[in-house]
Amino acid sequence: MYTIASIAILLAIALVVTRAIRGPTHFDRILAANVIGTLAILLLATVGFLMGRPEWLDVALVYGVLNLIGTFTVLKYFRHGDLGHNVETDDEAGGEP
């Protein structure tokens, strides 16, 4: 059963990687990266149970937090072109909400 789940998750990661390569816009690639992160969490959990070593769940937990932060970082970089951008002080024109 864990073997089935692991193989399905690996296939899903392969499909999502093709979307990341083909994606017409940046946002398709960011979405694909986010989904790959989620699938990596699930793969860590299932392979941990498959090997009888569920301590890998700690790694999966940290990976989930880093996945969110990485997505926001890349989104902010594409939006403002600068990771240190401060919306309140740096946008004299007001900008979009």
Binding site: M1, Y2, I4, A5, I7, A8, I9, L11, A12, I13, L15, V16, T18, R19, R22, P24, T25, H26, F27, D28, I30, L31, A32, N34, V35, T38, L39, I41, L42, A45, T46, F49, G52, R53, P54, E55, L57, D58, A60, L61, G64, V65, N67, L68, T71, F72, L75, F78, R79, E96
Partner: protein
Amino acid sequence: MIEAVFAATSTVVAAPPAPDEAFVGTTGFILYVISWVAIVSGAFFVLVGAIGLIRMPDVFTRKHAASVIDTVGAGLLISGMMLQAGWSIVTLKLAFIFFLLLMTSPVATHALAQAALAAGVSPELKEDRTAEPAEKRGDA
């Protein structure tokens, strides 16, 4: 004393998932079958979400396909693994992971949709689909 503490913590931390022999009796068999079905159908929904990510026409509908992986796929897989692990620290960690996914993936999806709209990516409407064939949209 230190050895006793180390042994206690190591057994707590490194508690393996319950082997199949732990599912005894009729209730155990039913729990085993339920966890089997949950994990296999979770794998199915993960695959469905990935196929949707390939086949959906634009980035907003692809987010919809990705949310299938985040909710149904992860939920079924993690609940099946929780049933397999029994009452242990592993179940708590799995619950934390599912809570984290439930909290973070809508936030990331919302931010992604807002950033895509602000960057000028417009959602594909029904008129666009009927006006031009699939080959002209850049992806089949």
